[in-house]
């Protein structure tokens, strides 16, 4: 399969990316390049092969590590908000969004 320019513009919109026409063209070429690789891989017969959920599992047992339900974080609000463009009464301010 290969993507169309309309696919690229839809994906860009979902990712909130603004692409110039030239960037769109370049992106279309790159994405279709990826899909060609995927198509090559799809040609391999994988019947009976257990899916690999993470590449980590190929080198070590990749069990999910769980943590105890204990509080480890202190209030770091001023540090967390130091780089925020706008704050008020401890709240982060962003441009108005109403669905």
């Amino acid at each position: 399969m290969s993507l169309t320019p309309a696919d690229v513009s839809r994906i860009a919109h979902l990712a909130r990316l603004e692409l110039s026409p030239a960037e769109s063209d370049a992106m279309l070429g790159q994405l279709n390049g990826f899909f060609r690789i995927v198509e090559q891989m799809s040609a391999v017969d994988t019947r009976g092969v257990e899916p690999l959920y993470t590449p980590l599992a190929a080198v070590q047992p990749a069990a999910l590590r769980l943590r105890d339900d204990g509080v480890t974080e202190a209030d770091q609000r001023s540090a967390n908000q130091a780089s925020a463009p706008a704050v008020e009464d401890g709240l982060f301010l962003v441009p108005k969004v109403i669905e």
Binding site: L14, R16, Y53, T54, L56, A57, A62, A63, L64, R65, L66, R67, D68, D69, G70, V71, T72, E73, D75, Q76, R77, N80, Q81, A86, E88, D89, G90, L91, F92, L93, V94, P95, K96, V97, I98, E99
Partner: protein, 481 residues
């Protein structure tokens, strides 16, 4: 005209009762100053990595087992991608094609007979932050965001479309809350939004098995709103269909102010969430031993308890329901009964006075300052005729405040019913002698003034006179002349 039949399925988000968030060690708390319970993980800062909370997994498994679901040996986390200011990573970590559990059922005894709703799935996911828009609380032209809730642990429970009306849906929501509180999975506070509900509603001609176009109604966060919103939505769709129209496939939001549902977005422009496996988290493997250990921890479930209480104590349905909803209330009830009180008496006091005092004091029943044994002793004094029922309520309030024994309060406050005939006889005579006009009226045939004399005696004794004895003595005194 063919009547329409509603077909409803629910999605319920339940906040799990952990101390900390799903993927980081920030405390889960709603009462704190904004953004005081956040860290790089729940703020979505670059490089931060999620580490799953073991207790959240246990509570989700307990919920799944209580609902009779199959808990899967392996489940997989996924990213759900969308942009909103309260979702700082730009994706929510959830479970998509391989959820923690599937295929359960919730059964209960409804007002119109037994009810059965199938559970399609239960999965783990993180909550978003809270945004406030312009308004009394919000800043001008901006959206203000608090991330304290960002990353709080949720179980999302999805039902099959097995509900046939607004009342049944509200009933299910309430039974689900009761069940999940009973197994300790959630604190279940509706005020704090621990349970939040979305509904999929469609109508079809009664008797048909073809499904209509579903509409998703969001923000149904109390039992009452759920019922009102669904009633409204069912009426709205019926009006469209009756007029020969077509129901749009869309998402609507319940507006508390107007009592209506409003269109949020149509499904055609719905988000494409582009789910993919969460690369930061390997699959969650749950051993059969773990599931068995959790299953062994399941307490008696409310519906089983209700059936048992109704059957073994002969309680009326409403009382059995009220007491069985809460393990502590059921334990209190059974302790009062084993202290010697008749089950119906015990149920009346617990669902009446005790429930009222608990509500006033904002306490749970296991914090009640009056023990089951003390309550039983109090009520026994009513049964023995020592104090009146009304007096017993007063004594109970004193026991509640002071922690004293009922016998001690009755004795020290002189609350015991006055049944001494000599003592009462003197008071009766006094009442008769002090009111010659009323006596004349009575003897002239106006027997209604009898009540006036009873009132005088009660007033003189602070309401403690035994009414049967007063009636007898008064009649004798008035007939005398």
């Amino acid at each position: 005209m063919v009547p329409w039949e509603p077909v409803i399925g629910l999605e319920v988000h339940v906040q799990l009762a952990t101390r900390t968030k799903l993927f980081c060690g920030c405390e889960v708390s709603s009462a704190d100053a904004p953004n005081s319970r956040v860290c790089p993980v729940c703020l979505g800062l670059p490089g931060a990595l999620p580490v799953l909370n073991a207790r959240a997994v246990d509570l989700a498994i307990l919920s799944a087992l209580a609902l009779g679901c199959t808990v899967h040996r392996r489940s997989v986390f996924a990213r759900k991608n969308y942009f909103y200011p309260d979702l700082p990573k730009g994706y929510q970590i959830t479970q998509h094609d391989r959820p923690l559990a599937t295929g359960g059922v919730l059964e209960w005894m409804g007002a119109g007979g037994p009810r059965r709703v199938r559970i399609a799935r239960l999965h783990l996911e993180e909550d978003a932050g809270k945004s406030r828009h312009e308004g009394p609380e919000g800043p001008e032209g901006r959206t203000a965001v608090d991330f304290n809730r960002s990353g709080a642990p949720l179980a999302e429970i999805v039902t099959e479309a097995d509900l046939d009306g607004a009342a049944a849906a509200a009933d299910f929501f309430e039974r689900l809350r009761e069940l999940l509180v009973a197994v300790g999975a959630t604190q279940g506070s509706m005020e704090e939004g621990h349970l939040r509900c979305d509904a999929n509603v469609s109508l079809r001609p009664a008797g048909s098995d073809v499904l209509g176009t579903p509409v998703e109604v969001k923000n149904l966060n109390s039992f009452r709103y759920l019922e009102r919103a669904l009633d409204h939505e069912i009426e709205r769709q019926a009006a469209i269909l009756d007029a020969g129209g077509r129901v749009e496939h869309e998402t609507r939001s319940w507006d508390l102010e107007t009592g209506r549902t409003l269109a949020m977005r149509s499904k055609e422009e719905a988000h494409d969430y582009r789910f993919f496996r969460e690369p930061d988290l390997p699959p969650l493997d749950v051993t059969a031993e773990r599931v068995a250990a959790l299953r062994a921890r399941l307490p008696e479930l409310p519906e089983a308890r209700r059936a048992r209480l109704a059957a073994s104590f002969g309680l009326p349905e409403a009382a059995a329901r009220q007491i069985s909803g809460d393990a502590a209330a059921a334990a209190y009830f059974e302790a009062v009964v084993s202290a010697g009180l008749a089950p119906r008496q015990a149920a009346n006091w617990i669902t009446g006075e005790i429930a009222r005092l608990l509500k006033e004091a904002r306490l749970t029943i296991d914090e009640a300052p009056v023990s089951p044994c003390a309550l039983a002793r109090l009520v026994r004094q009513v049964e023995a005729g020592t104090i009146s029922h009304g007096m017993a309520k007063e004594v109970l309030e004193r026991m509640w405040r002071t922690g004293d024994d009922p016998e001690a309060i009755v004795a020290s406050e002189g609350l015991a019913r006055i049944a001494d005939e000599d003592h009462l006889g003197a008071i009766v005579r006094q009442a008769v002698n002090a009111n010659p006009k009323a006596v004349a009226q009575y003897r002239g045939g106006k027997t209604l003034v009898f009540g006036f004399f009873v009132g005088q005696v009660m007033k003189a004794t602070g309401g403690k006179a035994d009414p049967a004895i007063v009636n007898r003595l008064l009649a004798r005194e008035l007939e005398k002349a």
